[in-house]
Amino acid sequence: MLQLSPFASNCLFFTSFAIVTTLFGKLLLHIDINKRTYNHVPGECGVIPNLPGILGLTTSTTGRLYMTTNSKDINTDQTHLFTFYSDNRTAREIEIRGGPPKWRLTPGALSINSETSNPNVFVHNKRTNNIDVFETNEQNDAWQYRKTFKDEQFEGLTDISAAGLNSFFFVKSSIFGTNFALNIIERVVPIPTGYIYFVSGNNIQQISRVSFPTGIVYDSVKKSIFVTSSTRNSIYRMKVQVKNGIEIVSSKEYDLGCSPSSIWKDFDGSFLITCHPVKFRYLLSLFNVITSSPSLILRVAVPTDKDKPLTITQLYSNDGATISNANVTVRAGRSLLISDGTKILNCHL
């Protein structure tokens, strides 16, 4: 056996001690052990009755709000598409026309492209792991099936953002999507295990790796994609351009101070972001140790000037008693809609 000299063994011990201690200390700070939430509402809030929680939300330029919702019946695992009218807080189910034989849709993430008078909606079909595209008709709340994008990379898709009639960006947050323990590690340790892809026609291109991305928005005016990273508590702005395929010409990371779980672009170019403000409570709720976890909704304006900081305004904050682990938010008129997957909270702005 190799016998280290006392001096060498002391050096080895103290160096290892310092490294392990630093890593452990950083981990404790990272999971927010000295943070808490303080409740805050922007106006009167209430849960919308008789409507299951939102899984995905998007709006067209006319302000029409589309949502995918879970059925109350957990056994059937049915998901439905609705149009939501914020003025009277009612929802109407969308009729889907066309589609191939025996085709069924279990919608997940969705995004809208408004280049035509009847906007096109891109929907992640969780039954087939394909992306189905529909043309909307807002006069009669009907969607006309148009086409399907197929690729094995769509499995584990987290969020999608339409870039054109035949192109979109999407993110996958993890490698180990189905392995619970490894997925937890990916949520906590900031290593870039997530993917950002671009799809155009039949071509699919991986353009970047990000640590646990949870949301993506393509802004055609700024020619940039905005990606939220849950593990790094940050939002990325990546300028993209088409040049032998699409490529990222510059990237900038902004600190949010909390763990973002979704992103939605408002009409003025700012983003509504849902956050986990206290990460360790979120992790405990994932393990079912506690029943609720705080929710936070931020409005984030990313400046065009790279050197300027984000402008962040808090819109809603709750300790988990009213809404727990909020993961989708959207504004419709003067309504702020927040969902945790089981119910929808409607707050008046």
């Binding site: 002391n10 103290f14 001690f17 201690t21 200390g25 404790l28 700070l29 990272h30 927010d32 052990i33 000295n34 943070k35 808490r36 303080y38 409740n39 805050h40 509402v41 922007p42 106006g43 009167e44 809030c45 101070g257 936070l296 931020l298 962040i312 305004t313 808090q314 819109l315 904050s317 300790d319 009213t322």
Partner: protein, 365 residues
């Protein structure tokens, strides 16, 4: 054996460093939001550290011009004042009230303030006062409404007023005083903070004698509930609020609970629904930087206004964040007081101006 001692010492050092980092809130930040339109109030520019709202007169008294842990008296270029702000109309202008018969006009730098309605209906103010040399006393002033002035009645000095911060009136000549530490210098205060051996506490003055109620702790803001039976004490460096049952006849307090706020709550206000309001410092490292060099406009720290709604047994509370700012609009909030049936809010700062907000958001949900 020596190695074991070194390892134990090293482990202690590691946990000490980590606890200190947590105390300084190095991983915290604020997100801005306001309860409604907010405006600055003309008048106080060098502090609005404490506010006493006299509902009977629809008037707020605001202390300004604080001196704190100053070592060079020549640095004190500002004047200590008490402002009066009319709450019945939105003038956004506060007036400085003249103080008559002060022993040492240049040595008047007010800190905490409290009021008492005397038997004849007039208002008596109790003010924590520091001099330029950072000597401490409690000034008792009577408000003369017709002449619009404060008449100095008497100054109380006591050995137990080690480093007074806030005061609560309990009678025409009796009051509670909080000491927020024992050190009189910046270095001494730093030693207290870093070692955790605080020398502050709570003192009751019955008109003749002083009595210790709490020792070897940090007591910043103090206030009594409307029925004067419950005492709230801000342990600002420990980021907790102590809730005590107060018995004035027996001169005793009994601890009911300690609320962990995870933010440095400063002074207190009790609204007419018996909710507790406080101006807080959510990020201590920025607060220390700002308060250490208060005249530097490039240094500012976060502001936070919390409202606490206590359970009936006073052992738990629901916290509502009414106002939050990164410091560029309102720096280092110290007090928050509501009036107009909870529709308006005054936010005072340690060394800066006064903010007046409307409250347009629901406070119960």
């Amino acid at each position: 054996m020596l190695k074991i001692v070194l390892v134990v010492l090293l482990a202690f050092l590691v946990q000490y460093v980590f606890k200190t980092l947590l105390m300084f809130d190095i991983n915290k930040r604020t997100y801005n939001h306001r309860p409604g339109p907010c405006r600055k109030v003309d008048g106080p520019v060098h502090g609005s550290e404490d506010i006493a709202i006299v509902e009977e007169l629809n008037l707020a008294f605001i202390t300004s011009g604080l001196v704190y842990l100053i070592e060079d008296p020549t640095q004190v270029t500002w004047k200590g004042q008490i402002f009066a702000y009319d709450l019945s109309k939105k003038t956004y202008k506060a007036e400085s009230i003249p103080i008559v018969n002060l022993e040492d006009g240049d040595g008047f730098h007010p800190h905490g303030i409290s009021h008492w309605i005397k038997k004849d209906g007039s208002v008596r103010l109790f003010v924590v006062v520091h001099s330029k040399q950072f000597r401490h006393s409690i000034a008792i002033l009577d408000f003369d409404k017709t002449k619009w002035q404060l008449n100095h009645v008497k100054t109380v000095r006591d050995d137990k007023f080690v480093r007074p911060n806030d005061v609560v009136a309990t009678g025409e000549n009796s009051f509670l005083v909080s000491n927020d530490g024992g050190a009189q210098t910046i270095v001494g205060n730093a030693i207290e903070m870093f070692t955790g051996f605080f020398k502050g506490g709570l003192v009751y003055f019955d008109g003749m004698n002083s009595h210790y109620l709490l020792e070897n702790t940090v007591a910043n803001g103090i206030i009594l509930s409307r029925d004067r039976k419950t005492l709230f004490v801000s342990h600002i460096n420990q980021e907790t609020i102590g809730v005590f049952a107060w018995d004035q006849k027996k001169i005793t307090i009994k601890k009911i609970s300690e609320i962990e706020t995870l933010t440095g709550c400063d002074n207190f206000f009790i609204d007419n629904e018996d909710n507790l309001w406080s101006g807080c410092h959510p990020v201590l490292k920025d607060a220390v930087g700002h308060l250490g060099d208060a005249t530097n406009p490039n240094l500012y720290s976060q502001s936070q206004v919390l409202r606490f709604k206590f359970s009936s047994d006073l052992k738990s509370t629901e916290m509502l964040e009414v106002f939050s700012d990164d410091g560029r609009f309102t720096a280092a909030s110290a007090i928050a007081a509501t009036f107009d049936n909870g529709k308006q809010l005054l936010i005072g700062t340690v060394f800066r101006d006064l903010t007046h907000c409307d409250i347009d958001v629901p406070l119960d949900f």
